[in-house]
Every structure is written in C-alpha cells, then in structure tokens.
C-alpha cells in the first residue's frame, strides 16, 4: 500500500470502529456534527473555492434538502423513508440550483453571489408563511427512524466519504480542469472551448446536491427543523464560507479541517465559557486570513509546492529561452 493510502485508510478505519469502542453519545454527537460540517464545507468549496463562484446563500440548498425530506415524512410516509429520502433532499436542492444557476450564470460578476443570497432569504420567508406545507414557524417535528446515534454516525460518515471522494474525482477529471479555468479567467476559458455557463451550472448542481443531502440528514438526525434554523444566513450560509476559508479554499481537505475546528471551537465555548464562540471564531478567521490568506491547508500546500518547484527546476531560464 502506498504511503498516501495508509494516511487515508488508517484514520478512516479508526473513525469507523470508534462507535464500537466508545459508546459516549456526547462524543458521537460531536463527531456527527463535525462530519456534517465537513460535507457542507467540501460542497461549498467545489463551487466557491475551485470554480470561483462565491455563494452567499448556500442555506437555500441546505434548507431545501431538509424541507424536501421533512415534507415527505410529514405527508404520511413512515419515518424510515427519511433516511433514503436523503437522496430526495439532494435532488430537490440540485433542481433548485439548476433554476437559479440557469438564470444567473449567463452573467458574470456578483450577480450569482447576490441572487443566491436573496433566494435563501426568500425561501426562509416562504417556509415561514406557507403553513399548510411547512407548518410555518412551528417547524416540523417527527420521531427519528433510529434511536441509536451509531446509525447516524455511519450514515453521515458514508455521506462525508462520498462527498470528499466525489470532489476528489471531479477535480482530477476534465470537469475539474474546466472549473479551475473558469475561476482563473472566463474569457480565456471560453476561447479554449469551454461553455462557461454550462460548467458553472454543473459545479453548482454538484455542490447543491451534497448540501441538500446534508440538510436532509440534519433534519433526520435532529428530528426537528424550522425555517429559522435551516435557512439561517449567518449560521449556515456564512459559516460554510468561513469554514472553507479557515481550512483553505480550493484544497480538498481544507474545508474538512475547517469544519472540525469550527465544531471544536463552538463546543469548547459552549461547555467552558457559555457563549461567545462566534466572536472567537470570527477573530480566528481574521487572524488566519491576515497571516495565511490561503487558509491552513492551502498555506501548507503552497509552502510544499514552492519547495518542490525549486528542486524540480533549478534554472528554467537557461533551458527554456
């Protein structure tokens, strides 16, 4: 086995056997939340980090995923449908993404970023007021399918693994190259044969799909959602951006690391300080952006990359020109 595979497989196995070894529900809960945020960070990053299309309103997709499965269960399906209903949540979010992307991605500049922000707010108000379907501000409450946190642990582990693997595969393919080209220069991308509108839309759909799955999982796990929670601007949309920036935008593992740090910080503060975790997290982000503008993982990779390039090419000028 290669060194890289060991680095991946060993931690994955540890995470997998963890619930069997420890039955501490609190720690399981923390791990579940961390993995949920890993999914959110990694999905946001595909669009915002790799494709360069910053979304200020990913809560729109998170909430749509959550409500899609919640309405499914509320309309008479047994609660157990909800966990395969994760797919329904993902598809609903991807459908919404197609709609907003199809409209906004013909334009360049901040239109998409702002439209999706507006979209998430609109959806929050719709969920709040369309009482027949969403129960309005009362939210939707149901008995979860599983009593055991372990089951949720494995489900979210699988989702997180699939999300990371999918983004990894995408970035190693034609799609990934096209996403990066779009981020770097849309004019150049067009002249090199890239239909920028189409590929921005594909990136958004993948990103929204996994965000929707995460939203759907969240509602399954918590057994309760209301519009204020799942369409929250600062706690969902903005936090997805911050988690990504902290760990490193446009890196595969950066958002995952950012997610874990975020959960550690917010729980640490909740338990030992009581409040103020957002203030601390905000300061942490400022410090990271000031000193490591590429985020934690991004800065490490850059330092490594520089060294490799230096050793690879001692003096390219002599050979090249």
């Amino acid at each position: 086995m290669t060194k890289k595979a060991v680095f991946l497989v060993v931690p994955a196995l540890l995470v997998l056997i963890f619930p069997l070894a420890f039955e501490n529900p609190y720690i399981l809960h923390m791990l579940i939340l961390s993995m949920l945020w890993i999914v959110l960070g990694v999905s946001w990053n595909l669009l915002g980090g790799f494709t360069g299309q910053v979304s200020y309103g990913h809560a729109a997709f998170f909430g749509t995923g959550a409500y899609a499965t919640a309405i499914l269960v509320k309309s008479g399906q047994p609660p157990a449908t909800a966990w395969w209903g994760l797919l329904v949540g993902g598809l609903a979010a991807a459908l919404l993404a197609t709609f907003i992307g199809w409209i906004c991605f013909r334009l360049r500049g901040p239109y998409f970023s702002l439209s999706v922000l507006a979209l998430s707010e609109v959806l929050r108000l719709v969920a709040l007021n369309w009482k027949e379907v969403t129960n309005g501000a009362e939210g939707i409450l149901f008995l979860p399918a599983f009593n055991d946190k372990g089951a949720y642990y494995y489900i979210i582990f699988a989702i997180a693994a699939i999300t990371i693997f999918a983004v990894h595969r995408v970035m190693k393919s034609k799609l990934g190259f096209y996403f990066l080209a779009i981020r770097e220069d849309q004019d150049a991308a067009e002249s090199l044969g890239i239909d920028t509108t189409k590929y921005k839309l594909i990136s958004l759909m993948i990103s929204a799909f996994f965000t929707g799955v995460a939203g759907s999982f969240y509602m399954n796990y918590m057994g309760f959602i209301d519009p204020g929670i799942v369409f929250d601007l600062s706690k969902i949309s903005i936090m997805m951006i911050l988690v990504t920036m902290l760990g490193g935008a446009a890196t595969l593992w950066g958002p995952a690391l950012g997610a874990v740090i975020y959960i550690l910080v917010s729980e640490g503060f909740r338990v030992y300080v009581g409040s103020g975790h957002l203030v601390f997290f905000g300061v942490l982000i400022i410090v990271i952006i000031l000193f490591f503008p590429n985020g934690i993982v991004g800065s490490i990779l850059e330092a490594k990359g520089r060294r490799e390039r230096r050793t690879d090419n001692k003096d390219p000028k002599q050979v090249g020109a």
Binding site: E190, S191, L192, G193, D195
Partner: protein, 239 residues
Amino acid sequence: MSLLELTGVSKRFGGLQAVGDITFSVEKGEILGLIGPNGAGKTTIFNLINGYYAPDVGEIKLNGEPIQGLKPYKVCRKGLARTFQVVKPLGRLSVLENVMVSAFSKTNHLPEARQIALEAISFTGMDAWKDNLAKSLPLGMRKRLEMARALATKPQLLLLDENFAGLNPSEVERTIEIVKKIHATGITILIIEHNMRVIMAISQRLLAINYGVKIAEGSPEEVANNGKVIEAYLGVAHA
C-alpha cells in the same frame, strides 16, 4: 472555398465605428498578416471572428459555415484558436495544466489530454517550464504559453494577436521559428503584428486597415510601399 471569409463586417461601439464594412478572406495554408496603426480595429476584428462580439452587419464564414454570433467556445470547437494580445494565463495553474485545459476540447480523458498538452508544450519549446505556475512566467513565456494553449485545441486556423510585442530580439527569432513550424504542420495563420521586420519575414500576404476600414491588400512588398499605408503610419508628408 476559402478557410475564413469575412463579408461586409461592421461593428460599432456607441459613436465609434470600430470596424466598417471589412471584406477579406484567408486561404487554406497561408499566413496572412493584419497590420494597421494603434486603434485601427485589428483586435476588434479578431474578437468578431472569435465570437467575443457579434458583428452589427456582415457575415463571417469558417469552411463555408456561418460563425458570426456564435459564442467563443463554439467557434473554438469548429477549429479556430486564438491568442490574446493582453495575455490571459490561468495564473494559479501550472503551464502543463493550462495547456491541458485546452486539450480537453479534443478529448475527455486525462491521460490523452496530458499527452496532447505535452506535445504542444514541447512544440513551443516550453518543456523546462511545464511545472511552473503560469503567473510566475516572464512575459516572453506567457506569450508562448498562449500559443501552446491555442495549439492544443488542434485548430485549422490560428489567430495570433501580437505575439511578438515586448519580446527581446532573441525571443523574437525563436518565436518566428515557432510560428513557421506551426505553419509547416498545415495550420493556417492570421497574424496581427506591429513589428514590420517580423511581419515581412513571416506573412505571404498582408492586409492593412485603418479606422476600421481596409486600405490595402496584397504581397508584403506591395502593401509596405502603398501610399495609403505609409500615410496611415507616418502622416501625409511622407506619403
């Protein structure tokens, strides 16, 4: 049938007639030079051909097929590649990745794209630079990267927009060689260039424009000695 045909093409930006009723054609296998003073409309013509702008009137045909108004990525897939005067490297990607992006217009598979890209890179003599980030390249190499990228789309017709500007004399010589080598593989070239020594050395036919209007067309010697061309560059007293 000509490879590229422009018939009565005009483009106006507000009150400025950037290109007025231009008609010319590029024959398969030739190198046609496009010259004219600054602001004559040369790059606008490229932008019209390549699909950045749609002409207000007129027709542009590639292989007899109308392409005016098509988006740049579609024009690219029909076999037309271009370089930019103001270079547009994909900064945070390596040279190899830059060229691979354009190679993906010919294949969906990574190893093949890599192969096409490596060929284009060595064709333009950039092997030693392939792992450098595009943003770290000096200008001469950025201009060459533009060519490598355009080549990797395997075009029939290549539009070169001032690929010699800002190069030192030895780089100019090297780039002339590369352009001739590209031409030798059967790619037709339409080139914009200010450096008269270069354009006389490479092109088989010249087209001169001023204020968006064609003022002369013919062999390089004819055009260079044409009164209107000299007037456009140097003023009436010299004509």
